[in-house]
Structures are given as C-alpha cells and as structure tokens.
Symmetry: C2
C-alpha cells in the first residue's frame, strides 16, 4: 500500500508520501511515490501516486511526453506548456487513459484491476495554486476551501487529525507538521506504509521550492514528533477522567436517567424473544 497526502492552504501547498510498496507481504520494496516538476519562475507541480506500481510508473514516464490536441491547428498541450493546472491535470488524465489503453486488457486477463490514483497539484504562472485528485479513469476533482486536502492509499488512519486541524488558514509549517502526524498515525497502524518519507512544501507564488526533504528514521524532527506525539497523546488520554457509572462524586456520569435511548435489555434464557 501507500499513504500520500497533499494540502492546499492559502499560504501554499504541502505534499507528503511514504515509500513502501508491497506485492504480498513477502515482497516489500522501497519506491518513491512523489515526483516534482519545476521550471523556476514559470511552473511548479508535484505528482503523488498510489495503486498498481507498474501503472503509476508508466503514467509518470508517459506524462513527460503526453500531448493533448484540441484540434488540428492548435498547439498540443503538455504539462510543460499548459497555461493552467486544470489543463495540466487533463494531460495527466490523458496519460492515465493511454496506459489504460495499453495495459488494462492484459491486466484483466491476469485478474488484475486497473487501479491507480494520483494527487497532482501546483501552480502555473498566471493563476493561483490548484490541487487535484486523479482517478483510474483519468477523471479528476479539485480541492476547495471546504475540502483543502486529498489523501490516496491507506488514508483512514491519518484522517482524523487532518479533519481536526486543517483549514485554508493553517500556516504552512503547521500544515507540514499535521501531515507528518497524520503519516505517523498511519505508520503506527499499518505495516504496508513505511519510511522514508518525501516531504515538499511550496509557498504561494514562489514557482520553485527548496523545501524538499527525504525523512528517514534518523531524521531529528520526525523522531521528536513521533516520540512527542505518542507520549503527549497518552498524557492527554490520561488527563481525561475515566468514566464514572452512577453515584459517586462525579458530575459527569456515564449513566443518566435522561438518556433517550434505552439501555439494551438482556436476553436471559433460550425462550426469550429478541424484539
């Protein structure tokens, strides 16, 4: 599996991916799931991919040369000359469809579904930052202020902290921290997601970034975060009082007469009706 997450904030974009792939539990390898396209002062784009590795590698290869032709006379559109991220995402969708046309039938013959999902975001000079999630069919959706992040792969473990923290106003470094916590929770609960991580942070209107880092188990910040988060989470857990049932000095009993739902009736013998 894989876990990738990308956040679109007012201040910029954050991309984070793990690097574990597995074809069964006994075939585990390290493959980077992120690729950065940058032409300074013109465009900055990042692609994250999950799903079948042969498909996503083919898409990445083809994306470099894929061309969209609107009609005979117009210039073909590539990710390198697209005037908008929307058009660049269409080129990516076309690359996905090209791989589908080449490989899907043979994969199906081997009982393998055509399964790939991607996150593609960035900024092209002349418009704002944009962030897309691209599906196996080459179609895509765009992040909005209400839903400022996308996840692909093993996404559930790391979703609660994103839901609690991320808004479009979240500062970039705080968003990067949140993505790393989200990844840490996923690493904790799912073996198929693993280090090293690739993290890229992009500031709005920069059209380039130096904030590209590969995080392994020796990374001082990630080690601190991993330890602190686990320990402090435990302290928070301990700081919340245990439930009291009835009576006692508590003001927050678990059992209250006012509850609208009735406690479950107990079934006490074989002849009893359940309802």
């Amino acid at each position: 599996m894989t876990y990738c997450v990308a956040l679109k904030l007012n201040a910029g974009l954050v991309f984070l991916s793990d690097s574990r792939t597995n074809a069964g539990l006994d075939q585990i390898s390290t493959f980077r799931k992120m690729i950065v396209y940058e032409r300074a002062d013109d465009r900055f784009m990042v692609l994250l991919s999950a799903g079948n590795l042969s498909i996503s590698q083919s898409v990445r290869e083809i994306l470099q040369v894929e061309q969209l032709r609107e009609d005979e006379d117009s210039e073909p559109i590539t990710i390198w000359n697209a005037k908008s991220m929307f058009d660049a995402a269409r080129v990516l969708g076309a690359a996905v469809r090209r791989v589908y046309d080449r490989d899907a039938a043979s994969l199906r013959q081997s009982g393998v579904e055509f399964n790939v999902s991607m996150i593609f975001g960035g900024q092209i000079k002349g418009e704002g930052m944009r962030l897309f999630q691209v599906y196996s069919a080459g179609n895509f959706i765009e992040a909005t202020p209400e839903t400022p992040y996308f996840q692909i792969g093993e996404s559930k473990y790391g979703k609660p902290v994103l839901d609690r923290v991320i808004t479009p106003d979240t500062p970039l470094d705080e968003a990067a921290k949140c993505a790393l916590v989200s990844m840490d929770s996923t690493l904790k609960s799912n073996l198929s997601v693993g280090l090293p991580l690739d993290l890229v942070v992009y500031g709005v209107d920069d059209f380039r970034t130096d904030k590209v880092v590969c995080i392994d188990d020796q990374n001082p910040y990630f080690r601190m975060l991993h330890g602190s988060w686990g320990q402090k989470l435990r302290e928070v857990f301990d700081s919340i009082e245990d439930p009291q049932w009835t009576g006692g000095p508590t003001e927050l009993p678990l059992m209250v007469a006012a509850s609208r739902g009735k406690p479950l009736r107990k079934i006490t013998n074989p002849d009893e009706r359940l309802i």
Copy 2:
C-alpha cells in the same frame, strides 16, 4: 456501516457499538448492533455484529435455538448450556452457516455478497473470559494477550488510539474510555457510523453486569470526552514545535545532511529522464 470494538483485559471485557446502518446514503436507520446474554452466576456473553443487517438479524434469531450435535447420543450444545465460550462460539458459527445455507444463493442472485462479521465474548462458569471474532464462513479467531481487542466494521479511524493505549493490564474504566475515544475518532471521520452507542463493561468472574448504557448526544460523559479530546488533541498538536528547515536556532532541523535517503531530484524539462 458500523463500528464495533471489544477489548479483553485482565480485569474484564469492554464492548462498544454504534447504531447506524445504511443501505446507500439515503437510507439511514438506527439499529442496535449489540446483544447481551446473561444468566446470572452462570454465563455472560455479548454479541456484536457488522455487515449485512438481514444476515446478522437472522443469525441472532437462530442463535437462540441453534443446536450443535456431536453425535447421536450426546446432549445438543446451545449457547445456554455450552460449557465453554469456545463451544458457544461454535454454536454461533453454526448459526452463521445455517443462514448461509438459507440465504446465500438468493443473495448471490441479487448480486449481494454474504457478508457478516461478529465479535462474541464473555465468560462461562468454569473457565476464564474469552473473546472471539467470527467470520462469514462461521470460522473464528480468539483474542490473546498480544492482540487483546477486535474491531469490526469501519475500524481504521479508531485503531491508532487502541494501539497506543490498550494492553491486558489496562484497567476496565480506562479501557472503556479508550474505546469511547476510538469511537469518537470514527464518528468524526465517517458519516456511516452514528450515535447512540451501546457500551457494556464486564468484570472478570462476575457472570453478570450492571454496566450497560446507551450513550446519546446528551450523555454528559461522552460530551465531555468528545469536547476534551478534540480540544486537548489540538493543544498537544500546538505544543509540538513546527518543523524548522535549515539553519536557525532549532536543534531538530527537518533537513539534515546525514539523511541516508536523497531528497527527490526535480524534473525541470520535458526531455529529462525520470530515473
């Protein structure tokens, strides 16, 4: 969907279930997923169920009368006379198989998979507490000290906190709190899991319990926990320093020369090779 979790501690058992079922997003109802079987001073058992509601309801109905016959001469085994939880779980497995025999072919004709999963735990006089997870095929596995909990349904959102907190030594009320936090994270991130909750806590060798409660959105303890957990999680998050990149006064930089993994190379033009 559904989220149910059961924990087996040295001190007793904790069972927690939500009550939302959905057949599509426009058909959402409340059904309790927990059933308590109790014959005081003899046996205490709890069944949690997820999956197709028609299957789990049928299993529950049949379980009341299901009999396992070892051979012609021996007394048939039911959940009410089984001498061990293992035998009671076998009766439950037989009930699942009976529903399969009745319904699976017709379900398949309608394109519906025979999908049910259950957690079944408790204690029968003469042996210790036991906790089982029962699958659609009627087979089952048992919780051990290394894996003292089972989840069914929408289990991923709530797994990290269980992994961080639960050991066999966890006290009962703390374990109940942990189950409620796990449920709270799931409620936060998944619409198909909903209040009210059913919570049952059983103390070892009691063979009965009064700790049976239905928790709705007015429950004082759950309201406190929901609010505190969200707020304190946020405080913990804020208390961890944001990542620093390079330079600056930090001692925990995100970028370090010593990292074994190379940062991603950037692709800067259409002719560049990816590898």
